[in-house]
Each structure stands twice: as structure tokens, then as C-alpha cells.
């Protein structure tokens, strides 16, 4: 009897590992729903760490790591978390992961730790991370949550890397510490204080948002 019942039940459709919907989860935050340029979250760190490309890259990787794993962990325990303390639970998970990143940096990459020290700690307060936990991981399965974390993390990383590229190029005349203008024969390239200041980050970020919105026709309503 029970055998026939299982036969009658419609075969469970397995969603492809990277189905259209799942690709969308990763792709949306890269452009149309970008955490920095569209949702305008995580701006403080986008300003603070983007003077040079190298720390920006490390920061991007750290944020991706924290978002992906906090998304995964929260998604795994989403049915166990009491609603009334969910924010505290999310914060503790994020804070633990951020402390791990900072300790590892301190042990293996001390020079970078000295540059980024305070900012890595501030990932805890980065609204992108908590926003994803609250908006996505609490209601979705682990695999989707990982994809969402990768998408949001990359969406954050490419924007700050682009900002850092222009700020380092125009501010210090170098790319990843390599003196571009020096190599091109322009030895006296002056350091541009405006780009090095946070004002430079606002300008570059403004331009990126402008270009992006002109392209995809996004209008704030």
C-alpha cells in the first residue's frame, strides 16, 4: 500500500545547481540591486578603506567571507532561532566571524592587520551583512543563502575595488603600489590630496552611481 503511494506521488523536481533563479540570486546584487550603489549600504567602509587597492582587496575578501558564512550559519539554524532574540543572534555570529578574520590577519598578515585593523572590526556594523541575514538567510535554505552571500559580497567588493582603483591611480599615481606614471615616464606626478581624502571616494562613488543608473535606468522612488 505504502509502495503504491510513493509511486503515485509526483517525482520531486530537482532544481538545477545553478538554475536561472539561483543565478539571479548571485547576479542581482552585482548590478541592479547592488548593496553600495543601489541600496546605499556599507558606505562608511567604502570610504575608509579605498585609498589603496591592496587593503581594499583584503577588505573585500574579508567581507565576502563574513557574509557567506554568517548567511550559511544563520540559514542552518533559522528554524531554531527565537524571533525575539534574532538580532542578537545575528550580531553574535557576525562578530565571531569578524573576530576570526581579524585574528587570522594578525597572525599571518601583520602588515595588513596594521592598516586595516579597525576597519575589519567595523565589518560587524556593516549594514550589508546584517541586512542579508535579516532579509534573506532567515527565510531561505543554506545553499541559496550561500549564493546570496557570494552575490552581495562580490557586489560590495567590485564597487570598492573600482573606487580604490581610481583613488590610488589619481591620488598616489600607482596601481597595487606599482607607480604607473613613474613607469610611463612622468616622474613628477603630483599626489592628489583630494582623491586621498574621503571626498575623493564620494566623488568616484557618485560617478559610478551616475554611470550605472544612466545605463540601467534605475530611478529612486
Amino acid at each position: 500500500m505504502s509502495e503504491t503511494a510513493t509511486l503515485v506521488a509526483p517525482p520531486k523536481v530537482r532544481e538545477a545547481l545553478l538554475s536561472r533563479r539561483r543565478r539571479g540570486i548571485v547576479k542581482d546584487p552585482l548590478n541592479e540591486d547592488n548593496p553600495i550603489t543601489v541600496q546605499v549600504l556599507g558606505i562608511c567602509s567604502a570610504l575608509a578603506v579605498t585609498v589603496k587597492l591592496e587593503p581594499t582587496l583584503v577588505m573585500g575578501i574579508a567581507v565576502i567571507f563574513v557574509i557567506v558564512f554568517s548567511n550559511l550559519i544563520i540559514s542552518l539554524v533559522r528554524n531554531l532561532v527565537p524571533t525575539r532574540v534574532r538580532i542578537i543572534v545575528q550580531l553574535s555570529v557576525i562578530a565571531t566571524l569578524v573576530t576570526l578574520v581579524s585574528e587570522v590577519l594578525k597572525a599571518y598578515y601583520y602588515d595588513m592587520y596594521k592598516v586595516l585593523g579597525a576597519f575589519v572590526g567595523l565589518i560587524i556594523t556593516n549594514c550589508i551583512v546584517m541586512g542579508r541575514l535579516e532579509a534573506f538567510a532567515l527565510a531561505n535554505r543554506p545553499y541559496e543563502s550561500i549564493l546570496d552571500g557570494v552575490g552581495s559580497g562580490l557586489g560590495y567588493a567590485w564597487v570598492i575595488l573600482l573606487v580604490a582603483f581610481f583613488r590610488e591611480l589619481l591620488g598616489s599615481g600607482s596601481v597595487f603600489g606599482w607607480k604607473v606614471f613613474h613607469a610611463a615616464g612622468w616622474e613628477s606626478f603630483p599626489a592628489n590630496g583630494l582623491m586621498v581624502d574621503s571626498i575623493g571616494a564620494f566623488l568616484v562613488l557618485g560617478f559610478i552611481i551616475w554611470v550605472q543608473r544612466a545605463q540601467n535606468g534605475y530611478v529612486e522612488n
Partner: protein, 249 residues
């Protein structure tokens, strides 16, 4: 059930134990590595005042060179060597926290000194760590004086939060090279220290002046302050060595 107080207490309790356990495990596991990194960082900064570090690639090479060529001691404000602290524990110059000592009154501080020796174990230069305030947070420096106790051989700055591209330039070789060959005493033997000027003019400057950093006047002022106050703290030792080294020659 999930909303009951007991469940919430149980859940947060377990969560605290798991996350706390994870953190303390990582911290204990990584501590020796972090200690080595900090040690390496200190020794690198000391070495950078007298040699070019690019010739030494691996951390172990740097640590080896340091052990071969450096002796260190701890002195007090009167320039006398002290070997043990108040509780009778032996003092190691490399482990003295300059930031903590900075907060004490000058006569209570312990001053580490690092002496760089040539192949024949004769002292070649004396390196003095210093600590002070920049614009946003602390700045620190290792100053290497040559055997005449007057000429600066090199400096190596560090800082916590000076503005990148402006005040943070004190840590670049471009700015640090400006201190080379400057003198801390004038002709009459008065301690003058070295001043960092306002603005960046690139003009030829006097023996006690260093070209400033454009846009970082306040950091420069902090540098001047730090050098002045610490040179006077080290003055007793510097003058003593100056006399000794002169009589040898």
C-alpha cells in the same frame, strides 16, 4: 515552545558557549604566531633605521641578523642601565611597551636602547625608540644615531591612524630619508633636536630642520614634539656616550 523564556535562555546559552569556545580556541592557537609577528615587526623597524631591509627576504633571516648584530639594554632617565623591574623580574628591551611607558612620568619610564654592532662587535650606532601623538592617534619612531651621538643615521616611523597620503607619509622612505645626516646638537653643544617644518618646500635646510609634509602640518608638529621630548629624556645617556666615544678616538 520556541518563544518561551526558557527556550530563549537555553538557546542563547548554548550559542554563547559555542561561539565563545570557538573564539578562545582560535585565540590560543594563533597567539604564538601573532607574538612572532609583533616581535618581527619591532625588529624590522629597528633594523630599518640602519640597513636596507630589501636585502633580507624571509622573516627568519631578519631575526637572525638582528640576533647577530644587536645588543640591547634598558636605561632610566639618568642614563643608568637597569636590569630588573620593581618586582625583580629581568627586563628585556625588546619587550618593553613604549606606549605604556609613555603614559608614565619621564622619571618613572624605562627606556630601551638598541645598539647596532659591526662585525668586530664594536658599537656602530645607537637606536632610540620614541613615542608621541600625531594628529589622530599615536605615532612612534626609532631614531638611529651614529657613534658621535650627534648625526642621525636613519629613522623609522610608525603610526596608528594618520591620514593616508598626508600624515601617513611619515612611514614612507621618501620622508624618512629627509632625516638622514641631520644633527641633534649645535656647535655650542646644546641639544637642539630636529624640527619638521611647515609646508613642503624642498629647499636646502639647516642641520636641525627637516622639510615638512604638505597637508600634514599637525602630524609634523607631533613629530617635532616627540623628537624634542624624547631626546631630552635620553640626553643623560647620549651625553655620557658622547664623552666616552670622544675619549676613545
Amino acid at each position: 515552545m520556541m518563544q518561551s523564556n526558557n527556550y530563549i535562555l537555553l538557546f542563547t546559552g548554548i550559542m554563547t558557549i559555542v561561539l565563545g569556545g570557538l573564539l578562545s580556541f582560535t585565540s590560543t592557537y594563533l597567539q604564538p604566531l601573532q607574538k612572532k609577528q609583533i616581535d618581527l615587526d619591532t625588529k624590522k623597524k629597528i633594523l630599518a633605521t640602519v640597513t636596507s631591509l630589501s636585502d633580507f627576504q624571509t622573516p627568519d633571516e631578519i631575526l637572525n641578523l638582528y640576533d647577530q648584530r644587536f645588543v640591547s639594554k634598558v636605561i632610566n632617565l639618568q642614563g643608568e642601565e637597569i636590569k630588573v623591574d620593581e618586582e625583580g623580574n629581568p627586563l628585556v628591551a625588546e619587550e618593553i611597551n613604549i606606549q605604556k611607558n609613555y603614559k608614565l612620568a619621564p622619571e618613572k619610564r624605562k627606556y630601551p636602547i638598541f645598539i647596532y654592532q659591526n662585525e668586530k662587535s664594536e658599537p656602530e650606532s645607537y637606536i632610540f625608540p620614541m613615542f608621541g601623538n600625531g594628529l589622530w592617534d599615536w605615532i612612534s619612531v626609532y631614531v638611529a644615531l651614529s657613534g658621535d651621538m650627534n648625526t642621525i643615521l636613519g629613522v623609522s616611523f610608525d603610526h596608528k591612524a594618520e591620514t593616508p597620503g598626508l600624515g601617513a607619509r611619515i612611514a614612507s622612505s621618501e620622508v624618512q630619508d629627509r632625516f638622514k645626516a641631520k644633527k641633534i646638537f649645535d656647535e655650542t653643544g646644546q641639544l637642539q633636536s630636529v624640527r619638521m617644518l611647515r609646508g613642503e618646500k624642498g629647499l636646502p635646510l639647516g642641520p636641525h630642520e627637516v622639510d615638512g609634509m604638505s597637508g600634514a602640518t599637525l602630524t609634523g608638529r607631533g613629530v617635532t614634539q616627540m623628537l624634542k621630548s624624547y631626546f631630552s629624556c635620553y640626553a643623560a645617556y647620549i651625553l655620557k656616550k658622547k664623552r666616552e666615544n670622544k675619549s676613545v678616538r
